[in-house]
């Protein structure tokens, strides 16, 4: 991105002055080197989001921002329903409530080493991953609706996981306001065999080692120490969320003119929050959030079963579960007044600061855990929300590394088998049904996650707590 387009307001804060039809400024949080590497499309998309009706304060982009659909991936924007604010299917994305959860195991690297190969094989065989894979849970119409209304809470009720898990999931595992009746038969059919599956692309299940602690106090509260083994799961609402995104993108693109919304890009398809289409989408989107939470809960149950077989001394407890493709109703202070806003986070993680009532009581004093996924060859990070983050971008932070290279380019550069061999040489076991998938997801095809996380830390969006490195990775 051309730096001349931006005004620097701090070491990691860049502003786009309102121009043309922009209602608010654009704000990008990133280091100079990340900004230089960003696609011009990110600029264009931040500007376009700033033109939408009812947008408050600014159109924000996180340090990992890249070219998305309508909204940049890494985009955050909030809308006031009383000022004609909109909800956007493009602003949530296709993989509704895609997110990351991390589980402690109570084990150390020494415990894992003797059974590492066996654990990798068992996880790969037990957790359905990749194109065409089917889950073990098949839902009839009644159970599908119960799942869509109940989320992870429904899953726990069915015996998938523990009641105490729910405390450490956003929305306590159940998104209120879900309307299963707003979810089409097509979307439900796409989901009927996909509960408890990882999916493909950048989704994964990793066994990781805590290699560095940056914040001893927060780490102690989160219950992690150097050398600990944790498990992280990255997946979303599967076919159901994709289908809801597809259907509402179209209905919002078609209805925009009726609501007198001028779309600079059809992908920004949106509808007033206080409209029939807007309310229909919110009900369906919240049902998809529940689908994602239930999905990660079932995968967690499968992981526990595998550990019970291979490492029975392990006790898997949930550190936290975050979603990074959502629109949620939150109260934020605007010009000194607490205001109810619809906050879109597209490829951005909620990162509430200490004391926020939505954080579980046992973690509230330090802030919300923020889980950032990396690549299978680098690292993931645990961060914590900060007090100042609440006034920077509604308590939001980055969500991952973001690609630096297209799938096509990656396929020309790497062979899956070589990537697997190289990583095995570094002690990382990769298991996947598709070697081509591995090549497309090669670590070198992604930006440096550490640079993204450092930028989020320096900008004050969230503070680094721990670095996790992969030992086993199951890829879809």
């Amino acid at each position: 991105m051309d730096l001349k387009l931006l005004k620097r307001r701090g070491p990691d804060e860049w502003h786009i002055s309102p121009h043309g039809k922009m209602r608010v400024p654009g704000v990008i949080y990133a280091t100079e080197s990340l900004i230089r590497g960003m696609d011009e499309k990110v600029y264009e998309q931040v500007v376009n989001v700033a033109t939408l009706p009812g947008i408050m304060q600014a159109s924000y982009a996180m340090p990992d921002a890249h070219w998305g659909y309508g909204f940049p991936i890494g985009g955050v924007a909030a809308f006031d329903p009383d000022l004609g604010g909109v909800v956007s299917a493009g602003g949530v994305g296709f993989d509704i409530s895609c997110g990351v959860r991390t589980l402690r195991t109570g084990l150390t690297v020494e415990d894992l080493q003797p059974v590492k190969e066996r654990l990798a094989e068992a996880l790969f065989h037990r957790i359905p991953a990749g194109v065409g894979s089917t889950g073990l849970v098949h839902l009839d119409k009644h159970e599908m609706d119960a799942m869509l209304a109940g989320g992870a809470k429904w899953a726990v009720g069915k015996g998938y996981g523990l009641h105490e898990d729910l405390e450490f999931i956003e929305e306590r595992g159940c998104m209120a306001g879900a309307k299963p009746e707003n979810v089409s038969d097509h979307a439900k059919k796409r989901q009927q065999d996909e509960m408890g599956t990882l999916g493909s692309g950048n989704h994964y299940l990793e066994v990781q080692q805590v290699v560095t602690l940056f914040d001893a106090e927060a780490a102690a509260v989160f219950g992690i120490r150097e050398g600990d083994i944790v498990v992280s799961i990255h997946c979303g609402s599967r076919g159901l969320g994709h289908q809801i995104g597809t259907e509402f993108l179209k209905s919002m693109a078609v209805s925009a003119a009726r609501y007198h919304i001028e779309l600079p890009d059809r992908e920004l398809a949106c509808a007033p929050i206080n409209s029939e289409v807007g309310q229909d989408y919110l009900g369906a989107m919240r049902a998809a959030i529940n689908c994602a939470l239930a999905n990660r809960q079932i995968v967690t149950h499968l992981v526990r079963e595998v550990f019970a077989d291979v490492l029975p001394e392990a006790v898997l407890s949930l550190l936290y579960d975050v979603s990074h493709n959502t629109c949620k109703v939150e109260e934020h202070v605007i010009d000194g007044t607490p205001t109810r806003l619809f906050v879109h986070r597209k490829g951005a993680t909620r990162a509430f600061g200490p004391g926020h009532s939505d954080i579980p009581p046992s973690l509230r004093a330090v802030g919300q855990p923020v889980l950032i996924g990396g690549t299978m060859g680098t690292a993931s990070y645990v961060l914590v929300g900060t007090k100042e983050s609440m006034s920077l971008a509604y308590g939001s932070a980055c969500h991952g590394a973001g690609r630096s290279m297209s799938r096509h380019q990656a396929l020309r550069q790497w062979h899956g088998r070589e990537v697997v061999k190289d990583l095995a040489g570094r002690g990382i076991l990769i298991r996947s049904p598709s070697m081509r998938g591995i090549a497309e997801e090669a670590p070198g095809a992604y930006k440096d996650v550490s640079e993204v996380v450092d930028a989020a830390d320096e900008a004050g969006l969230a503070r680094k707590v721990a670095r996790l490195e992969p030992l086993i990775c199951v890829k879809g």
Partner: protein, 147 residues
């Protein structure tokens, strides 16, 4: 990535880069052929087209207010059929009438070991979406798909 060209080609497909995902483009002597070729480009995102036998036929119909939205609907209908039938498709015939589409897709059930599917397509998007004729009079039908 693109299909090998031949001198007498009536249609071909190619992929174009998108930072996080991938663009699909069908090029044909008619709009129908461009839509068919775009369908092939979607399968090629997932697997090697040559590995998919056109053994089983599936009927697809959709309609939309304009031809660009119709392209997205067509590709999304394919995504839906692939996801719910657990199939891959390697041959298409498309018939267009105003803004409605009737098509037959031929393919076979996914076999993971043989097809090595790299990634599932979540949906076709409105990004880089266009259906138009180029200066040589060929039809180009393209958009980015989310994977």
């Amino acid at each position: 990535m693109q299909q090998p060209r031949s001198e007498t080609e009536e249609a071909r497909w190619e992929h174009f880069p998108h930072e996080a995902d991938i663009g699909v483009r069908g090029i044909g002597s008619t709009k129908e052929k461009a839509f068919e070729a775009a369908g092939l480009a979607v399968t090629a995102v997932i697997t090697d087209l040559a590995s998919v036998s056109p053994m089983q036929a599936v009927q697809i119909a959709c309609e939309a207010p304009d031809e660009e939205l119709l392209l997205v609907d067509w590709l999304n209908a394919l995504v839906y059929e692939m996801a719910t039938r657990k199939m891959l498709f390697s041959r298409f015939t498309v018939h267009l009438n105003d803004h409605s589409l009737h098509a037959t897709a031929w393919g076979e059930p996914i076999e993971v070991a043989r097809h090595q599917p790299a990634v599932e397509v979540k949906g076709a998007t409105y990004t880089a979406l266009s259906v138009k004729r180029d200066e040589q009079g060929r039809w180009i039908a393209q958009c980015v798909v989310d994977v």
